[in-house]
């Protein structure tokens, strides 16, 4: 009996024994975690520049605090016309992307789901995924070729039909339309993959039962397919809302030209031009911090709202 009692503590493996077995896993993790530490966490220390007067000679810890309790650059940013334009444009373009671009892949998935010829469906899918693999520089150059006032295919067709050339890329309102449209063009196929997978996971018996009850195509779509997609839609919507103030750099930067800068300048490109090109590090770090914090707040809010409405949210 006594001997057995001595064995009992063995159930909790001593740390040294545990490490003897598991050190390899930690060794494997060493490189990726170091990478994240250096390239994702150290930059967070640089965020304090937003609150400090930047100088090249001093280390970030020794720079003096900026005026107004360190909030000088935030105040400056919000009194800066260019930044306010960039903020407005970021919100406008992202909202339009959300309104137009978010439903597009869902609708496409619903359409594809109605196709019964398997071969044909696969070909359509392959073609629809193609634009996703083009870089934004390429997409813009396609747009240049397609929408040029004289030599562009679209304007040539419009003129052939007796219309007038439309300045798709050179006039602000049209530029916004082109920007959003090509965004949808580039992503609708790719983003439909997730929805198609979700549709494939819906129990086929539901459709059969509905058919027996005499439900038509659209009734089934509305009462079975869409409810089946709801969790996926909610998760992706939350992720999109978290990105409402975020903006990739590649897409807007590739699309910008001098004639439309008033509507085309977004936060990411503003930061690049004023920060990296213009060397106003403190101001643009403040702008970047504002962007990141708002992003996190939106994400949390959207997630909270989703849970409040009885959905699963993203965590």
């Amino acid at each position: 009996m006594k001997k057995q009692k001595k064995v009992v503590p063995q159930r909790k493996t001593p740390f040294s024994v545990y490490m003897k077995r598991y050190w390899q896993l930690y060794a494997l993790l060493l490189l990726p975690l170091t990478y994240l530490l250096i390239f994702k966490y150290i930059p967070m220390a640089y965020i304090q520049i937003a609150f400090k007067k930047y100088s090249i000679v001093e280390s970030i810890w020794e720079m003096p605090l900026a005026a107004n309790h360190g909030f000088e650059y935030f105040i400056k940013a919000f009194n800066n016309k260019d930044f306010l334009y960039a903020l407005r444009n970021t919100l406008t373009l992202n909202l339009l992307d959300l309104v137009v671009g978010f439903p597009a892949p869902i609708i496409f998935a619903l359409i594809l789901n109605e196709i019964c010829f398997k071969r044909f469906k696969r070909v359509v899918q392959t073609i629809a995924y193609m634009p996703h693999f083009l870089s934004w520089v390429i997409v813009y150059s396609l747009a240049l070729q397609l929408f040029a006032p004289d030599a562009g295919l679209v304007n040539m067709l419009i003129k052939d039909l007796g219309g007038e050339a439309i300045p798709f890329l050179n006039e602000p309102a049209h530029w916004v339309g082109t920007y959003i449209g090509l965004g949808v063009w580039q992503s609708f196929g790719w983003n439909s993959i997730v929805y198609l997978a979700a549709i494939a996971g819906i129990n086929p018996e539901l459709y059969e039962a509905a058919s027996v009850d005499g439900a038509g195509r659209f009734k089934k779509m509305w009462h079975i397919t869409l409810p089946g997609l709801k969790p996926t839609i909610i998760v992706l919507l939350i992720m999109n809302l978290g990105n409402i103030l975020g903006s990739g750099f590649d897409r807007p930067f590739a699309f910008q030209n001098n004639l439309v800068m008033r509507v085309a300048e977004v936060i990411s490109t503003y930061v690049y031009k004023v920060g990296i090109k213009g060397l106003q590090f403190s101001l643009t770090t403040a702008v970047g911090l504002f962007q990141s914090v708002v992003g996190v707040i939106f994400l949390l809010l959207a997630n909270w709202l989703a849970r409040k409405l009885g959905e699963r949210g993203i965590w």
Partner: protein
């Protein structure tokens, strides 16, 4: 099979028609570009090119292939893409594999450490200053190292690893295999689909990316193809463009641009259809939450 009514059949065909239309919309820009790149200058100047080339010739492609600037950038980008893809796959595996072991102490803390980086980004300028302090500016490594691990891709790989039965791993453990052996002998051979998917994601990201080179790289020798293309489209380095194309008709520069775009797109367009069944699975794994 049940017999369909006529109206249902008409409905089917309407959906087919919509799909054909969408496919055309996806393809037309590329076809138009291809036609332009293959057409003779005269027709281009007169704006006569729609979807078929007129005055078929390969002059634009010959010019591109004889210009060392493009050929060099092409091979440099190809090399960069290859190195990045291999390196990123290794990093992703190293990160994803240990995290599937529930017995790993500190696992949840590590998960939090990783997840935070997904939702909070320090921003452009802090990243730039980091590169500066690491002496990576204008160093070709800056196009490889900073983007070598995507947490999103790591999650895809981890989800795939979770799908491999635990029993395989456990029996190997009982047989005395080390964790490293289990990785190389069991997990890697079974994970070819997810490796194919992520290789495609990383390769496309590197091939298509230009912002890191724009921000961190001043040495034009190391410009990836997309940045070179961006500069050409926006007539940056005017002098260079002028000396190169100044003597030729404006039409040729149009077909030249078209040829350069084709030249820098074709590798990806040739690869992705073959990996379709893999990446569909990969994207789906990414959307599955834990």
């Amino acid at each position: 099979m049940k017999v369909k009514s006529t109206s249902a059949k008409i409905g089917d065909w309407i959906f087919v028609l919509i799909c054909v239309l969408l496919s055309v919309i996806c393809l037309v820009p590329m076809i138009n570009l291809l036609a332009k790149s293959l057409s003779h200058t005269d027709y281009l100047i007169r704006n006569e090119i729609y979807l078929l080339p007129k005055g078929f010739n390969l002059d634009a492609y010959t010019t591109v292939l004889h210009d060392m600037k493009y050929v060099r950038a092409f091979f440099w980008t190809a090399f960069l893409t290859f190195v990045c893809t291999i390196f990123s796959l290794v990093m992703t595996t190293l990160c994803a594999y240990p995290l599937i072991f529930e017995k790993l102490k500190g696992r949840s803390a590590i998960n939090v450490f990783i997840t935070i980086t997904m939702f909070f980004n320090a921003g452009t300028i802090p990243n730039y200053l980091l590169m500066k302090s690491l002496d990576l500016l204008n160093n070709p490594l800056v196009l490889i190292v900073p983007s070598c691990l995507s947490v999103y891709n790591m999650i895809i790989m981890r989800s795939f690893f979770y799908g491999i039965p635990d029993s395989l791993r456990e029996s190997a453990e009982i047989d005395g295999a080390t964790f490293f052996q289990i990785l190389t002998k069991i997990y890697v051979p079974l994970s070819k689909p997810v490796f194919a998917t992520l290789a495609l994601f990383y390769a496309v990201g590197r091939w298509n990316g230009y912002s890191d080179a724009l921000m961190y790289m001043k040495n034009a020798k190391y410009y990836p193809l997309q940045l070179l293309l961006y500069n050409i489209l926006n007539n940056i380095n005017q002098v260079e463009v002028a000396t190169q194309e100044g003597f030729s008709a404006p039409g040729l520069s149009e077909s030249l641009k078209a040829a350069i775009v084709m030249f820098s797109t074709i590798p990806i367009l040739l690869i992705y259809p073959w990996l379709q069944k893999y990446f569909i699975h990969g994207v789906t794994l990414g959307a599955v939450k834990e």
